[in-house]
């Protein structure tokens, strides 16, 4: 009898552990569906949640799904500061309750030439920026990921670490205010898995994935173009703009075509990842070979 109870206890512990590794509990969200991307062919949740570039956990793409349980996403808050009239700090729960969440199906394209289509849940970044009231000096928006080596193993790599943390990304203010630019809090109907950038991340569908910074703790409005992490590591290969562009190759590989996850065959990459109509106007007078 005792033995039986012990067995049940231990096996339920294992199940809990497996659950923590395989698929942590995701909170259901209430959101409204939209017409974005209704014609696109969705990838599976498995593909989206088991193939991640989240270098704070690991340089390998299959590892974040196994390691991300160390990230504590509750409680969480974001500080909005810098060149604004109304700086504030807000908790994630407040955010979720203050803005109507919507689901949008977007294409998403990694600079490494793989691509995915997934249903994000979030709200336009402009909502939160408008509340902060950017002043006339606010030309750029700088985003920062949480820095905590206890939660992110790669942040404590010492001599073998080649990435300066915390991770930083940036957008020009017009890009940040664009209606396509989201703050994402969920995907596939529920809150974000940790390896996908929980609890809140940027989603910029016409730029290479590294722009869409994960696990954000700070949004700062600034006057000068912020130095984004990948540009700091290698400015010849990664720029500030990082617009998806099939006509400008990466120095090591072609960007003309892409590997959609799950497929043995490649497909054409679209200018601005297919969002030319919505965003091309912002880059009218810019040489996109120079501003990579």
């Amino acid at each position: 009898m005792k033995l039986g109870a012990a067995t049940i206890l231990s096996s339920s512990l294992i199940i809990e552990k497996l659950a923590a590794i395989e698929n942590e509990k995701r909170d259901p969200l209430s959101f409204k569906k939209t017409s974005f991307g209704q014609n696109l062919d969705l990838n599976t949740f498995d593909q989206a949640s088991k193939y991640n570039n989240f270098y704070e956990f690991s340089l390998k793409k299959n590892e974040p799904a196994k390691l991300a349980h160390t990230l504590k996403t509750d409680p969480w808050s974001i500080k909005i500061s810098g060149e604004v009239e109304n700086p504030f700090t807000v908790s994630l729960d407040e955010i979720k309750n203050s803005y109507p969440l919507e689901e949008r199906i977007y294409r998403f394209r990694c600079v490494e030439a793989w691509a995915i289509v997934l249903p994000w849940i979030g709200f336009p970044l402009s909502y939160i920026l408008k509340k902060a009231k950017p002043n006339s000096k606010a030309k750029y928006v700088k985003f920062t990921t949480l820095y905590d080596p206890k939660q992110f193993p790669d942040q404590s790599k010492g001599v073998f670490g080649n990435i300066p943390y915390p991770y930083v990304e940036g957008l020009r203010i017009d890009e940040a205010m664009n209606e396509l630019t989201l703050l994402g809090v969920g995907m596939y109907g529920k809150s974000l898995p940790k390896q996908n950038g929980a609890p809140i991340r940027l989603v910029v569908p016409w730029k290479y994935g590294f722009k869409s910074i994960k696990s954000i703790v700070s949004i700062e409005l600034v006057e000068k173009e912020p130095q984004n992490t990948w540009k700091a590591i290698n400015p010849r290969e990664y720029g500030f703009y990082a617009n998806v562009n099939p006509n400008v190759d990466h120095p090591r590989w072609s960007q003309a075509r892409e590997r959609k996850l799950g497929s043995f065959f490649k497909q054409r990459t679209l200018m601005f990842n297919g969002y030319e109509k919505e965003v091309a106007g912002m880059y009218k007078n810019m040489d996109l070979r120079k501003f990579i």
Binding site: D249, R252, W253, F265
Partner: protein, 191 residues
């Protein structure tokens, strides 16, 4: 003979493993690059280690087979590039090869491996033996290629670089003698 068959099967294991997991690979083309590329470079390191291990275990007579498997995995890696990645477009292959150091370093090392595989046949090997020193060129180029394939270096690439320097230093020492070595390299590699 039995040992040779056993070794043959062992060297096929990475291939079998790759086929087994290919169906469920999330990014199949990338998966094939990683599996064939890392197997090829690892076996190349093994082949180059055999002479240095001679005093411990003499496996030199298996070196040709290991070398042919290096070529086999490099060939699969190349096929992945040509068939799946370039979708059989020869103009794409040529353009990428001329444009991108990352690709031409791979191509040059693949050519060296092909040359060595072809000329390793017993009947003609003697004529080409001295050209097989080119393998040291291949290990240098392949190490650079593998390191370039990563966005940032990790401990795996540091290992490749370390072992490559070891091979080259030993070779220079063997070739030019200790004095040459001491003069030019003793500060770099202390042995």
């Amino acid at each position: 003979m039995k040992k040779k068959i056993l070794l043959f099967l062992v060297l096929l294991l990475p291939f079998a493993n790759m086929l087994l997991h290919l169906q469920s690979a999330i990014d199949p083309i990338k998966y094939i690059y990683i599996q064939t590329g890392t197997t090829a470079i690892s076996l190349l390191i093994v082949a180059l280690l055999l002479p240095w291990l001679k005093r411990v275990v003499n496996l030199l007579r298996y070196r040709r087979m290991v070398g042919l498997f290096v070529f086999f995995y490099a060939f699969l890696h190349f096929l992945n590039f040509f068939v799946l990645d370039a979708e059989l477009s020869i103009s794409f292959v040529i353009k990428q090869t001329l444009d991108k150091p990352f690709i031409y370093l791979g191509m040059i090392s693949f050519s060296i491996l092909t040359f060595m595989a072809v000329t390793s046949k017993k009947s003609i090997f003697r004529r080409f033996a001295k050209w097989h020193q080119l393998v040291y060129g291949a290990i240098v180029l392949v190490t650079i290629h593998a390191s370039m394939s990563q966005k940032v270096l990790s401990i795996v690439e540091y290992f490749y670089i370390f072992i490559m320097i070891f091979f080259i230093a030993r070779k220079l020492k063997e070739r030019f003698g200790f004095r040459f070595f001491k003069r030019y390299f003793s500060t770099l590699v202390p042995f």
